[in-house]
């Protein structure tokens, strides 16, 4: 059996069978056995085909083994496998793979050497090794590590150069880059790097604060040395925008002052060349806009700009009064208070002229002028009551409400107003002055500059519910009152809701009530009925003389309107007028109106009687009437009737009889009336 199995024919037969079924691996084995026993070209040919197939399979096997080894981080094993595969497959990618693995094996060794160098504090060597690794692997992390080692080795210049060349940095790189910059005195740049690190480490934060202090001092020194102002301003801006200043209010203020100093330095040449637009741009970015000198500069800049550009009128008006009442003007003018006042008043007039010149016709500029007028009066009052207080404050004590608010002086100003209550000419003057400086001052200003709606909306949006002092109560009451009138004029039905506090307002400031009453007495609008309702509502709350007079007037107006429209007859009209007189018995308008209605009534009756030739009734009406107008009318009618008789062509005796009737009627009313002579003369002529 063994002989048979190993015979050449059997081997070849088995080899052929395996070859035909594609099992080249076993076929190769069998063909090799056959070749040893009896080689032939046919066997060689088949064996070559088998080898071609099996090399590919074996190569793929080695590739798989190599990949597995690499995934296990067995770089040496992987390298062997890929070399075997490369020998079988001769593929280019395998050549690259083998080169990479060889470099990695070399790199690992270098990393180990570099780490040893770091441990030995041989930072130059470590930096070199990491730099080489970076070159080999084209990876920035090695270069970053190299730069870190340079920092640790105090080779700051080289480190900065290397860090600067890198595209992306991690926290370690940012820290060491910043550290190197700080060591080289580039404090602002150092903080810029440290900004990128999100760390709450106490030691790191302490270093940030140290470098921040140094940065501010450095900027200050640069400023004193007259270095590039734009650069200093930019650096100060970067520091102010950074995280490291958070919570350090003093340094924030310092940087703000420094920035403003730079801006002033930049503004000076612009001012001198008359480039006020550029100065205004710098002023807008000023941090301490409330600085007295900045206020003066702002006022002057806006004054110049407002000469040709209307949009600067409002900012000029905002700053002007505070500027002209500032100590800067007082210093400039000198010790003569009389001259100072004259200069101040002249400057105020100059600003007013500018406002009026630029105002045009729109409401906005009208509001600016009104606002300025209000502020002007306030400043004069404040100056009068402030005494020498203005000298004891570093901020302008005499300032408009918006600046008082900015300086945190509003409460002090209000206290001063209260202390000087006797100075004010009346309660309204006192309360309106305080209202301007109160927490709802802006809303009050909106009301006074002509927008009750804006005033009310601002009031609603303000958190001033807890303010119940006399000034806010007055301002709130007045705003609601005026807004109620606005709502009424807009035809909304709920207008009475806004007058709930009107009685209190009138009680406190009778001047408001009087003014409203006078407005009502001159009313000529289309909301007669609504105002009658409002006045009725107010009359119930507070039946004062001005409200009674206005209500009575409106009752009469409404009665007359209804009478004219035919909605009530003359008798109903008279009843309504009687009611109006009950509200205000001395109301001359109603008394007169009532008389007019009575005359009209009697005239109607007289006309009716005479038209129907009821002369007895006509005579009775004319005789009994208290109104001379009625008798005049009677004789007018008689004259007309006399002319009609003249033209009627009646026979003589009828003619005489008619004229005699007229004469008798006239005699009954007024025996001395001249028309009687005329009638008698006509009768006499007819009798002849």
């Amino acid at each position: 059996m063994a002989k048979k199995r190993n015979s050449i024919d059997v081997i070849l037969k088995r080899a052929e069978k395996l070859f035909e079924t594609g099992n080249y691996l076993l076929a190769e084995k069998e063909f090799k056995k056959a070749k040893h026993k009896d080689n032939s070209p046919e066997i060689e040919e088949k064996l070559a085909i088998c080898l071609k197939h099996t090399h590919g399979l074996k190569g793929e096997e080695w590739v798989k083994k190599g990949q597995k080894a690499e995934s296990r981080n067995d770089l040496s094993g992987a390298l062997s496998c890929f070399k075997e595969a490369e020998a079988l497959l001769h593929e280019a990618w395998l050549t690259d793979k083998i080169r990479d693995l060889e470099q990695s094996l070399l790199g690992g060794e270098m990393v180990a050497r570099a780490e040893t160098a770091v441990r030995n504090k041989d930072y130059q060597a470590a930096a070199d090794l990491y730099a080489t690794l970076g070159q080999i692997h084209k990876k920035e992390t090695y270069l970053s590590d190299s730069a870190v080692c340079l920092v640790k080795g105090n080779m700051f210049d080289q480190a900065i150069e290397l860090f600067t060349s890198l595209k992306s940095l991690d926290d370690a790189a940012h820290y060491h880059f910043g550290y190197a910059l700080a060591k080289q005195g580039r404090y602002t740049d150092a903080l810029g790097q440290w900004e990128m690190i999100d760390s709450g480490d106490a030691a790191f934060i302490a270093q940030q604060h140290q470098v921040l202090d140094l940065a501010v001092k450095q900027l200050n020194a640069s400023m004193n040395a007259g270095s590039d102002i734009n650069g200093i301003l930019a650096d100060a801006g970067r520091l102010l925008d950074g995280k490291s200043v958070h919570g350090n209010d003093r340094l924030v203020k310092g940087l703000g002052v420094l920035s403003d100093y730079c801006r002033l330095s930049l503004a000076k040449p612009l001012w001198e060349t008359g480039d006020y637009g550029a100065v205004a741009t710098l002023l807008e970015s000023m941090i301490f806009k409330q600085d007295p000198a900045i206020i003066v500069l702002s006022a002057l800049t806006y004054y110049h700009l407002a000469e040709t550009q209307a949009e600067y009128t409002r900012p000029m008006a905002d700053y002007w009064l505070t500027a002209v009442y500032s100590s800067d003007l007082a210093k400039a003018v000198g010790d003569d208070p009389g001259k100072l006042d004259k200069v101040r008043q002249r400057l105020i007039r100059m600003a007013e002229n500018r406002i009026n010149t630029m105002a045009g016709s729109d409401d906005l500029n009208g509001a600016v002028a009104t606002h300025f007028d209000m502020d002007k009066a306030l400043m004069a009052d404040l100056l009068a009551i402030s005494g020498d207080l203005q000298e004891s404050h570093s901020v302008p004590w005499i300032s408009t409400p918006c600046f008082s608010k900015r300086y945190g002086l509003s409460d002090a100003v209000l206290a001063m107003i209260r202390e000087n209550r006797d100075y004010f000419r009346d309660e309204e003057h006192y309360l309106s002055t305080g209202a301007c400086y109160s927490r709802i001052g802006e809303s009050f200003y909106a009301l006074k500059t002509g927008s009750a709606k804006e005033a009310f909306n601002r009031l609603e949006s303000m958190d001033a519910a807890d303010s119940t002092d006399e000034f806010t109560n007055y301002a709130r009451g007045l705003i609601r009152f005026e807004y109620g009138k606005f709502v009424l004029e807009n035809g909304e039905k709920n207008f009475l809701d806004y007058f709930d506090s009107a009685a209190g307002l009138f009680e406190t400031v009778p001047g408001v009530e009087k003014k409203f009453s006078q407005e009502m007495m001159q009313y000529d609008g289309r909301h007669l009925f609504e105002y009658e309702s409002l006045l009725g509502f107010l009359y119930k709350l507070r039946p004062s003389a001005p409200i009674s007079e206005a209500y009575s007037f409106f009752m009469g107006q409404v009665a007359l309107e209804k009478f004219n429209r035919g909605k009530i007859n003359n008798k109903q009209c008279l009843v309504a007028l009687e009611k109006a007189l009950d509200v205000d018995p001395g109301n001359e308008y109603i008394i007169d109106l009532k008389e007019q209605i009575a005359i009209v009534l009697e005239m109607d009756a007289l006309y009716s009687a005479m038209n129907k030739r009821k002369m007895g009734k006509a005579v009775a009406l004319a005789t009994k009437s208290p109104f001379p107008e009625l008798r005049d009318k009677f004789f007018e009618f008689i004259e007309q009737m006399m002319e009609q008789i003249e033209e009627s062509g009646l026979e003589k005796h009828y003619h005489i009889a008619e004229l005699n009737d007229l004469r008798n009627s006239c005699m009954a009313v007024d025996p001395l009336h001249p028309i009687i002579d005329t009638l008698e003369m006509k009768i006499h002529l007819l009798g002849d």
Binding site: A126, L251, V343
Partner: protein, 101 residues
């Protein structure tokens, strides 16, 4: 109109210098006679002159000095650094630990 610029004089010019500048301006015809006359009038009246000085001359140096003093106060009060020798703090190790990634 800046009367100082019209007459070509500085802030501290005397009345005599104002009159001389106006006369010179008339001769040289840098501006029309009315403008020069108005400028002279504005500056010879003390109240008017104070107004125009206020409007056209802002004391930048005084304002800057105020800010300088304020800044000095802030920096003096906050001087908790190690002096003027620069940044002397040690390099922190909290960000170390990944060499050879």
């Amino acid at each position: 109109m800046n009367p100082y610029a019209v007459l070509g004089i500085d802030k501290d010019a005397s009345n005599k210098e104002i009159i001389q500048a106006a006369a010179l301006g008339m001769r040289q015809r840098r501006h029309d006679a009315k403008t020069i006359a108005q400028a002279q009038k504005k500056l010879l009246d003390p109240v008017s002159r104070a107004c125009w000085t206020f409007i056209h001359f802002f004391d930048f140096e005084d304002a800057k000095k105020r800010l300088e003093r304020e800044l000095d106060e802030i920096l003096t009060a906050y001087d908790n650094t190690e002096g003027d020798d620069g940044f002397g703090a040690p390099c922190l190790g909290i960000f170390d630990g990944h060499h050879g990634q």
